[in-house]
């Protein structure tokens, strides 16, 4: 329930006391704190949770102390944040990078800028719901760049896949296996069938259509928005008329 009340991956329950103290106080400006936050990121990568708030504190330290930047930490933060789509989390992280490190261009020679540029493209496919292009881009990874960038993040592809399935279930009541195949990045209808029945718990209907159980989002129920009228809403008018006659 807590996650419903805030942005995805903003303040996870797994956050230890020490980290809470760092990001909640002035310690977040202490360059030494970077090491603690880096170790915490490592923990997030291994234990498959995400603390975007703490990771932003780390990027902020890099922003203020560019000599401390570790390229692979920056890209790990971004890949981690990417798993929180759709949300502004990835953008909020990019805003904290220096322009030179996040915009690959003819003038830039930095490897970090190249990598960040690649991740921004990848993220844009997720944010724009072009899921099949996301998977295709990962697949056609000729120089193993994406493989390198995502290797530290345990279960990266699985987390993305689960999220996509969840998002699809909020829009679809029925969906064809072929659409799912592209969106989930799975090869062949057998694999898709296995995934949706075993992992998602959905059923296959006639003609190979996947049936998604009803939920609050895929119903598209008709509603009427009504206004509750209370006396307070007229208080100004009443007060003024009362004052004028008095």
């Amino acid at each position: 329930m807590a996650s419903l009340l805030n942005m995805n991956g903003e303040d996870p329950q797994e956050r230890p006391e020490q980290i809470r103290n760092i990001i909640g106080g002035l310690e977040r400006y202490n360059p030494q704190a970077a090491e603690v936050l880096e170790a915490y990121l490592q923990q997030q990568c291994e234990e498959k949770f995400c603390d975007c708030n703490a990771n932003r504190a780390l990027l902020k330290l890099y922003q203020l102390n560019p000599d401390r930047i570790k390229d692979e930490v920056v890209t790990n933060v971004l890949v981690k944040t990417m798993t929180q789509f759709p949300s502004p989390q990835f953008d909020l992280a990019i805003h904290l990078l220096s322009p030179a490190n996040s915009n690959p261009g003819p003038g830039s020679t930095s490897d970090l800028a190249e990598a960040v540029g690649k991740l921004r493209v990848l993220n844009s496919y997720l944010e724009s719901a072009n899921y099949s292009r996301f998977w295709a881009t990962l697949e056609q990874d000729n120089d193993d760049i994406y493989a390198d960038l995502t290797t530290d993040i345990k279960g990266f592809e699985d987390m993305i896949r689960v999220k996509i399935a969840q998002l699809l279930s909020q829009a679809y009541r029925e969906i064809s296996l072929s659409t799912l195949e592209g969106a989930l990045g799975l090869d062949g209808e057998d694999k898709v069938t296995q995934y949706v029945t075993e992992t998602c718990g959905w059923k296959i209907g006639e003609g190979g259509v996947v049936l998604i159980p009803k939920n609050a989002e895929n119903e598209a129920k008709k509603t009427e928005i009504r206004e509750d009228v209370s006396i307070d809403m007229f208080s100004r008018v009443i007060k003024r008329s009362w004052e004028e006659t008095a």
């Binding site: 708030n53 932003r56 560019p66 502004p88 719901a129 829009a171 029925e174 009504r226």
Partner: protein, 476 residues
């Protein structure tokens, strides 16, 4: 130094002070220096003490003066040193210094000017590095990397907040308790209390300028945004606060909250503008237009009914642009960009630029704009898609794709994006970052294979509005 004297009004405040007050101040000051120090001051006579108190008071006034627009680099360096020594004196003397702020607005003006100079200095430094044709100034700037450094600016603001125990005071006030009790030796003095308070607003601004939008909002956790807030008594502070809060919300895709902020302050300004005809009003007019531009952007992302006053002003100022934004598609992109440039804060980089490689220094505005535009692009088809969906209760996906001249897969993506974006976090109570997920659209749909089921929430009659309008028509 002459540059400092070129500012405007506040000097008069000094003249208004009666001699009695000045004498009291001198006496207080004497007491206070005598308390903390021992031998070194023994040699000083009455006259030089009085002189020092006058100097201090003059420095307080000076710190709130705008630096001349064309001030030389040297003047900017000097100004920084002056702020440092003033804040050092205020923060690091033994015990609280016994000075009264020259006016109610003083503390706001000082913090405002301090950050403004930090902002323009950083922008200027970056420009010199980017243009790479002013070797002399580049050299000077390169040799003084810590002048107007980000860490020292943050340090001043955080120190003022801590010293004044303003957070504790605000929380006590929130609980309905006496703030004096938790104010401590510093915070009970109005100089510290006011500086501490406006430093919180200053932090909001600095974080926003550095592109840390969530930390910007987090900073205001202890300030309640309402008319009773301390900042509301200083118009410029009131205005600035809502601008930066609104902007940060917008960058976090919380368009409903951003609109609430911009609307609130613009309505407030329009109601009080007859009382504000002074020099301050010019800068407010500029920010006013910026906020209208931001409202146009937010309304395009999150169509909603605006207050009549704002709607009229928006149509007058940016009518054409608004139409293009609301229509969406690739034609809307340059308009989003134009309005963002007009209305965004002057973003800065917290570290000195690279003077040796001019071309490697990208203007931070371009950086933040490019991130923002990605989200604009993701959403640019939503208006078109929605305008079609409104016409039907069921629709075949392939047929609609044909109308729109896109591939079925592309339409699927558009439908998903639009549906995902209708859910937004909206503030209800507590800190500014708090909120609940709400569905913000009156249009909903679900897909059954290639069949789109569409439902539109029917708006009940706007009763309150109707009653109010008819009451005034009948009885006014």
């Amino acid at each position: 130094m002459s540059a400092f004297q070129q500012g405007m009004a506040p000097l008069r405040a000094l003249e208004d002070d009666s001699d009695v007050e000045e004498e009291a101040l001198v006496a207080d000051y004497k007491e206070q220096v005598a308390y903390g120090q021992d031998d070194d001051l023994d040699g000083l006579d009455q006259a030089s003490l009085a002189q020092q108190a006058d100097d201090l008071q003059a420095r307080l006034v000076q710190a709130a003066q705008p630096l001349d627009f064309q001030a030389t680099l040297e003047a900017k360096f000097t100004s920084y040193d002056n702020y440092c020594s003033l804040f050092h004196y205020i923060l690091n003397s033994e015990g609280p210094v016994d000075l009264e702020p020259p006016s109610y607005y003083w503390a706001w003006d000082v913090i405002d000017e301090f950050i403004y100079q930090f902002n323009t200095f950083s922008t200027y430094r970056a420009r010199i590095a980017r243009q790479g044709n002013n070797e002399e100034e580049a050299q000077l700037l390169k040799e003084a990397p810590n002048t107007w450094g980000c860490y020292s600016v943050l340090n001043v603001l955080y120190s003022l907040i801590q010293k004044s125990q303003i957070i504790e005071q605000l929380n006590a006030m929130k609980r309905g308790e006496d703030a004096e009790k938790v104010a401590g030796p510093y915070g009970s003095k109005s100089l510290y209390r006011m500086l501490g308070y406006f430093s919180i607003i200053g932090l909001l601004r600095v974080h926003c300028l550095l592109g840390d939008f969530s930390l910007a909002l987090k900073t205001l956790d202890d300030i309640e945004l309402n008319k009773k807030a301390m900042f509301a008594r200083v118009m410029a502070a009131h205005f600035t606060t809502y601008y930066y809060v609104g902007f940060s919300y917008m960058m976090m895709r919380r368009y409903a909250d951003a609109l609430r902020m911009f609307s609130h302050i613009l309505i407030y300004v329009s109601r009080t503008k007859n009382f504000q005809k002074n020099a301050q009003y010019d800068s407010i007019t500029k920010k006013n237009d910026q906020m209208l531009a931001l409202i146009a952007i937010c309304v395009a992302f999150h169509p909603t009914r605006l207050d009549d006053t704002i709607h009229t002003a928006l149509r007058e100022k940016y009518g054409e642009q608004l139409l293009k934004l609301q229509r969406g598609g690739p034609d809307s992109l340059p308009v989003f960009e134009e309005l963002f440039r007009i209305a965004c804060p002057k973003f800065i980089s917290p570290v000195p630029p690279n003077f040796d490689q001019p071309e490697s220094n990208i203007d931070p505005i371009e950086h933040h704009l490019s991130v923002f535009m990605e989200e604009v692009k993701n959403n640019m088809w939503s208006p078109t898609v929605k305008s079609y969906l409104r016409l039907y209760t069921t629709m075949d996906l392939r047929k609609l794709a044909g109308f729109l001249d896109v591939k079925p897969d592309e339409l699927r993506a558009m439908l998903l994006v639009n549906k995902q974006r209708t859910k937004q976090i909206r503030w209800t109570e507590g800190g500014l970052l708090e909120g609940e997920w709400v569905n913000t659209s009156d249009l909903d749909y679900a897909l059954q294979g290639d069949l789109i089921h569409i439902s539109e929430a029917k708006m009940g009659r706007k009763l309150v509005d109707w009653y109010l309008r008819n009451l005034s028509r009948t009885y006014a």
